[in-house]
């Protein structure tokens, strides 16, 4: 498999939020002082993976707010705040990330070239890069190169998150910078819808571009796959907004509090029976005869 040139990878990192995410990881979460020696490439992979996971989660929180807005920062950022808890509080973003990474048996033989194709497509997408690229970018680039070439599993959540990041950057180039790690989460509600419109559009330029960067026999299959992925994200997150997963106690097989979706709707689904029998239509309890 041909390795993408380094410039596309750098552009990819900058344009899909990987830069901000990795920067945050390098600066904070790992206790590394600014003056400490910079980590080696192998160690960088260890730093990149969790921050890319963070990027994915941030993206899916933006998606959860898109499906069911509430009283959270993501809903405020997209311009549709509401006075009650929504999909973010219901942890629908967490549900999507965990589902993609742990339970979709997405073949690595597909995930890896698709990620590479995304890297290249991002570089060719004509999105303005920040004027001064930070020095970490070279090291991150090396880490990403190893990740893409190595035997480690590419998480499907990362594939989906960078796909949404790429779409976000196309819809609104300014989304490559700002609050949140994820460019998608920085979009307005209407721009998020436009990102999905790009993904779902039958003759999307993006899909065509990705297709040309995939090896046979996968070429031609990716467009359907991406539509499936995009569509599945919307359906899964809508489902997740109203379920009990955030308050689930696996050991007791029961909930520890009322789920957000139940509080919003007033539903209580625990009963073994209800008083809703109204009788039989026209009093008939049996169908008769052959015609």
């Amino acid at each position: 498999m041909t390795e993408p040139p380094s410039l596309p990878r750098r552009a990819f990192l900058a344009r899909t939020g990987g830069l901000g995410a990795a920067g945050a990881g390098l600066a904070g979460g790992h206790g590394r002082a600014a003056a400490a020696p910079m980590p080696g490439v192998e160690e960088l992979i260890g730093l990149v993976r969790p921050v890319l996971a963070q990027l994915a989660l941030d993206t899916f929180r933006g998606l959860a707010a898109f499906a069911l807005p509430g009283d959270d920062a993501y809903s405020r950022a997209q311009g549709t705040p509401r006075g009650r808890a929504g999909g973010v509080t219901a942890e629908a973003g967490e549900l999507v990330e965990a589902s993609l990474d742990r339970f979709v048996p997405f073949p690595q033989e597909v995930a890896r070239p698709l990620t590479m194709a995304l890297v290249t497509a991002t570089a060719e997408a004509g999105i303005e890069l920040p004027r001064h690229l930070p020095s970490e970018l070279g090291r991150l680039d090396a880490a990403l190169r190893l990740l893409l070439r190595g035997d480690e599993k590419i998480p499907l959540s990362l594939v989906a998150a960078v796909l949404l990041g790429l779409l976000a950057a196309q819809v609104n180039p300014a989304a490559t910078g700002g609050p949140f790690l994820s460019p998608f989460s920085r979009l307005s509600y209407r721009d998020k819808a436009r990102a999905f419109e790009l993904l779902e559009h039958t003759d999307s330029d993006l899909v065509a571009l990705l297709d040309t960067h995939l090896p046979q026999p996968l070429r031609g299959s990716v467009s359907g796959l991406l539509k499936y992925l995009g569509s599945g994200l919307l359906s899964l997150v809508a489902f997740g907004c109203f379920t009990e997963h955030a308050v689930w106690d696996a050991a007791r097989r029961d909930i520890t509090a009322l789920p957000v979706g139940w509080r919003l709707t007033g539903y209580d689904g625990r009963t073994d029976g209800l008083d809703d029998l109204k009788g039989y239509y026209q009093g008939r309890k049996e169908a008769v005869g052959r015609a």
Binding site: F106, A238, D272, K285
Partner: protein
């Protein structure tokens, strides 16, 4: 050497297993997923626990829930609602059991004979299947559904359509009616209380109106397994197959092995001789031989197994001709509670022979939100994907998401929604199909690709869907809906049929009129994939089970030299106390 190996314990396989075990044959029933033997310990009413498509106990995946689901390629925006486990998709179905329209069978000469898929009829007349319908209807048993709040509202809408009430079992014209469903009707306190002290068998019997059909039926509490309200095959045919020696003179209990994914059908000299399966927990392979093999793994898995076994496909129709009722949802928004999340999932319907059917459908909130998001017309109010059909409903069709979803669902909003499912009479089309994927194989061999063309369907199919969406809208307006939303659903192959179809024409069918492979002797098919077409729109399970009963008879007479029984015998009802007693003795 077994007499018969049945591959798959879903809606059809257990029927064959029970019928042949009842007659003393040595039957091995193999199921790739788990058997939920103790639902009160293994299931809950919670939607994520049950219905999460990747992790729920009702998913398409191995018995071990900590492991990934099984990947299937769908090269379009869609979701294939397959379920593994004993009972297959009947574990979460709504148990609707209408008969097919007579017009989809050969020999039909009614005035509307030209209104159906005339090139792909069943290879025998409707009257041929009636005794088998009656046998299954008595065995399950099938009964007339009771009304809850949502059915009352639905019937109010039906009364404005100018069509009559159907009171018979066979549908002969446009009409509406309560469902004939495979649910034991409420008895005692069932349906009349939410008091847990009263919702216990035998103080309550049959359907308790809990609203959890999609999460699997385990009602009433403490009922024997074969007396659970919903007659999914894990509650009806499987218990009968496993206890056949206890209630049938000369019967022999079938053996059920779960966590057993069949990877190969073996043949010798043009006849099926046995199967190999892989045990999920260990990865070990096993092989058994049999005098006949019956495929019942489902519309996707049967063609996969056929291809992966290298079985002949002389006319290229293995996996082709998949029908799915080209489903759609039309949703009415009311100003008052219509009981969406309460009672059985679907208890009322309309029939339009030559067009399809409509059925009332109720959901708890997460599935309701999922349904509202399954559109091929983009996001309502934002973009349309070049579709967004307009009509008598309000605004363009599309996904309901974001602020509009929140507005719709909050403060009991989900219970003010009435869903009408459109079941289109769709044509058998060769390009809707299951074929081997180019994606990497899994532990069971090359994976299948399910190709369903949403936008490129026959003119008749498309016209039928639009006709029905308009009828559904009229029904909902008649019932008093304030707003009507159309989803324009993307393909959700849920009612899947006919991927290994029986038919008169050997050029376009895989099975002969006995549901036996034309290409491989002693290989039969007994699930939805054997159906000749989409039945005209009625839900497929009852017809699959009637056809499987007929196929069991053909296997028994052709392969084993036995006598037929359906026209001469009397069926035992699956709730029989002898079945309950033996299940208890066996700890099942």
């Amino acid at each position: 050497m077994r007499d018969v190996i049945v591959v798959g314990a879903g809606g059809g396989g257990p029927v064959i297993a029970k019928e042949l075990a009842e007659r003393g044959l040595d039957v091995l029933l193999l199921e790739a997923g788990p058997r939920h033997a103790r639902p009160r310990e293994e299931w809950t009413h919670y939607e994520n626990d049950a219905n999460h498509p990747l992790t729920g106990f009702f998913r398409f995946g191995p018995a071990d829930r900590a492991k990934s689901a099984w990947f299937r390629e769908t090269p379009q925006s869609s979701f294939v609602m397959q379920l593994s486990g004993v009972g297959g998709t009947t574990q979460h179905y709504f148990a609707n059991s209408p008969r097919a329209y007579p017009g989809v069978f050969s020999g039909y000469s009614g005035p509307d004979a030209g209104a159906y898929d005339t090139r792909h009829r069943f290879p025998f007349p409707y009257a041929e299947l009636v005794p088998y319908y009656e046998w299954v209807e008595a065995t399950l048993p099938v009964q007339t559904a009771a009304m809850g709040a949502k059915e009352e509202v639905y019937f109010q809408g039906c009364e404005t359509l100018g069509i009559p009430v159907q009171t018979a079992l066979t549908t002969t014209g446009d009409s509406y009616r309560p469902q004939q469903n495979a649910i034991l009707q409420p008895g005692g306190h069932a349906g009349r209380t939410a008091d847990p002290r009263l919702l216990v068998f035998p103080r309550s019997t049959g359907c308790t109106f809990c609203g959890h059909c999609s999460q699997g039926c385990m009602q009433p509490v403490h009922a024997p397994r074969n007396q659970f309200a919903k007659r999914s095959t894990d509650n009806s045919y499987v218990p009968m197959a496993l206890t056949a020696d206890a209630w049938s003179p000369g019967g022999r209990a079938a053996e059920l092995i779960t966590d057993a994914f069949v990877t190969r059908i073996h043949t010798e000299a043009g006849a099926a001789t046995g199967v190999t399966w892989r045990t999920g927990a260990t990865g070990d392979s096993h092989r058994e031989d049999a005098r006949a093999v019956v495929l019942s793994g489902g519309c996707t898995e049967n063609p996969r197994l056929w291809h992966n076994s290298g079985l002949p496909d002389p006319n290229g129709w293995v996996g082709r001709g998949l029908t799915d009722h080209h489903l759609d949802f039309v949703v009415g928004v009311f100003d008052h509670d219509v009981g969406n999340s309460r009672g059985p999932g679907s208890a009322a319907r309309c029939d339009f022979p030559g067009r399809g059917a409509l059925e009332q459908t109720g959901f708890p909130p997460a599935l309701q939100a999922l349904i509202l998001s399954t559109s091929d017309s983009g996001i309502r109010g934002a973009y349309t994907n070049g579709r967004g059909p307009r009509g008598p409903w309000d605004g363009p069709a599309g996904r309901v998401l974001g602020p509009q979803l929140a507005d719709l669902m909050q403060d009991g909003g989900h219970d003010r929604l009435l869903n009408v499912l459109v079941l289109t009479d769709d044509d058998v089309e060769p390009d809707n199909r299951v074929l081997p994927s180019v994606f990497p194989a899994d532990a069971h061999g090359p994976v299948p690709k399910v190709e369903v063309h949403h936008r490129r369907r026959s003119a008749r199919t498309l016209a039928n869907r639009e006709f029905l969406a308009r009828k559904a809208t009229a029904l909902l307006r008649g019932a008093g809906a304030r707003t009507v939303l159309r989803v324009d659903m993307f393909p959700v192959p849920l009612h899947v049929q006919s991927s290994l179809r029986t038919g008169l024409d050997p050029r376009t069918s895989v099975l002969d009129a006995d549901c036996r492979s034309r290409a491989v002797d002693r290989l039969y098919v007994a699930d939805n994939s054997a159906l000749a077409n989409s039945l005209g729109g009625p839900n497929p399970t009852l017809t699959t089970q009637a056809l499987a009963t007929r196929t069991a008879e053909r296997v028994f007479t052709r392969v084993f030299g036995g006598d037929p029984w359906v026209r001469t015998g009397a069926p035992v009802v699956s709730t029989d106390v002898r079945v309950s007693r033996r299940l208890a003795e066996l700890g099942l």
